[in-house]
């Protein structure tokens, strides 16, 4: 389990870097392709609660350290906020863990789509916090697309990410099902 956990942590880190080099989708008004939420949500399904918390902490922290500019030491988005933002959907997804470890690929596909649907939540929460801090609820169709667009893209990409991670977990000898049976 720890081996796959470390692999997932590394994958999240590399995805953060990789995302920097992926151009935004111009036909979706600049919506970004995000892989990190899919990786985090897979981890939330595959690992027990303590490890989910570690994953959420690391993902949120890296997200803030990499993306948030601090002008003159000041930032209107406090570093660490994304940990709380990621925690909520990760815990929702973690609630489906019993389903994930018992059922087959069809359920995995449904859970992948659920994870994709939760992706825009992170962006919406970031947008809401920024708007609150800047005391200005600027809204336009571009904003809508930049929140919903990554979710739409994730609906296509997340099943493949889940499939890849599932194969990877088997490769490193981690099967959530076997691990749970041992616990019970």
């Amino acid at each position: 389990m720890i081996r796959f956990f470390l692999v997932l942590i590394l994958s999240i880190f590399l995805s953060f870097i990789f995302q920097l080099y992926i151009p935004p989708m111009i036909f979706l008004k600049g919506a970004a392709i995000l892989f990190v939420p899919a990786l985090l949500f897979y981890g939330s399904l595959a690992f027990p609660f303590p490890l989910v918390l570690v994953l959420v902490f690391v993902t949120g922290l890296w997200n803030d350290l990499l993306t948030i500019p601090r002008s003159s030491g000041h930032s209107d988005y406090v570093i660490g906020t994304s940990i709380i933002i990621y925690l909520i959907p990760a815990l929702i997804i973690h609630g489906f863990r019993p389903l994930f470890i018992r059922k087959g690929w069809a359920v995995h596909l449904v859970l992948a789509e659920l994870a994709a649907i939760l992706t825009p939540f992170c962006l919406l929460a970031q947008y809401a916090i920024l708007s609150f801090e800047r005391s200005d609820f600027f809204f336009s169709d571009v904003i809508v697309w930049r929140i919903l667009g990554p979710g739409l893209i994730a609906m296509v990409t997340t099943p493949f990410v889940f499939l890849f991670l599932s194969s990877l977990s088997h490769l490193v000898g981690f099967r959530p099902r076997a691990e749970v049976m041992k616990l019970t």
Binding site: I26, L65, P69, S72, I79, G80, Q126
Partner: protein, 267 residues
């Protein structure tokens, strides 16, 4: 909930609280250290991206050549490769000459830097450059190209820095409009991005005679940006309830900018 879960939850909550409540300087130091840690990966990523760009350009030309003369493909391929290499070099030399010329003409002391990563994935418009405190960079230094203003340095590590771009909503620059006495504050919006920047000058007088095409330059007020740096040109001027707002097309293509200069002082 089992014992280990409760213990992890307590540690998690404490860590998050500590992180959020850390003083700003401490957070900036952590951010700089992290940036320094990822800098080799970002530099490698940038090189790979450039390499891939060059390769795809080369393949396109190979296809064209194949259509033109199928029989001499092998010979031509060799010539074409050399030609491509020279063309790439020529473009590079032209670009660097232009940059060097700008550096010599400029009244400012300029530190050349290269953009190694662009953040497209969030509400913030930033990029990373391959220069840091070892090269004399400091927080709040203005970043420009020969075309105009790019942004300002936000976080500085040893040999990498992050730059907040002029298209970002959090960066506010005092500007004046050519041919008028109008001064205002320019900033991006939350919808603004590198490829579709949405820059607006606010706090202009409602009766101002501002026309499309007028040049916008930094006014120097505030002390961060020197005066006279071109920011862009006016696209549109609208009058709102309390103020005039001018929409601006930035002078620099923020989505494509590669070579930048950091202003470290006046010559």
């Amino acid at each position: 909930m089992r014992g280990p879960s409760i213990a992890t939850l307590v540690v998690f909550v404490v860590l998050v609280l500590v992180l959020i409540l850390l003083p700003g300087g401490c957070k900036q130091q952590i951010q700089a250290n992290f940036l320094q840690f990822v800098s080799p990966i970002l530099k490698t990523g940038s090189s790979v991206q450039q390499g891939l760009g060059g390769m795809s350009g080369g393949l396109k030309k190979l296809d064209e050549l194949e259509k033109e003369n199928r029989q001499l493909r092998q010979e031509n391929e060799q010539l074409r490769t050399t030609n491509n290499l020279l063309k790439t070099l020529e473009t590079e030399v032209n670009r660097l000459n232009k940059a060097l010329g700008f550096r010599e003409r400029s009244p400012f002391r300029l530190i050349p830097a290269r953009v190694i990563a662009r953040d497209n994935a969030s509400w913030w418009n930033t990029c990373s450059i391959d220069r840091g405190s070892e090269d004399g960079l400091a927080v709040d230094m203005a970043v420009v190209t020969e075309a105009g203003l790019v942004g300002k340095v936000a976080t500085v590590a040893k040999n990498i820095s992050s730059v907040v771009l002029v298209s970002d909503e959090s960066l506010r620059v005092s500007v004046s409009i050519e041919g008028t006495n109008e001064q205002g504050i320019i900033s991006g919006t939350r919808a603004s991005s590198n490829f579709a920047p949405d820059l607006r000058i606010r706090f202009l007088t409602k009766t101002a005679e501002i026309k499309p095409g007028m040049q916008v330059t930094t006014s120097g007020t505030g002390g961060v940006f020197p005066s006279g740096v071109i920011v862009g040109t006016v696209k549109q001027f609208t009058v709102k309830e309390l103020e005039g707002v001018a929409f601006v097309q930035p002078a620099v293509d923020l989505n494509k900018v590669q070579d930048v200069f950091v202003i470290s002082g006046i010559k």
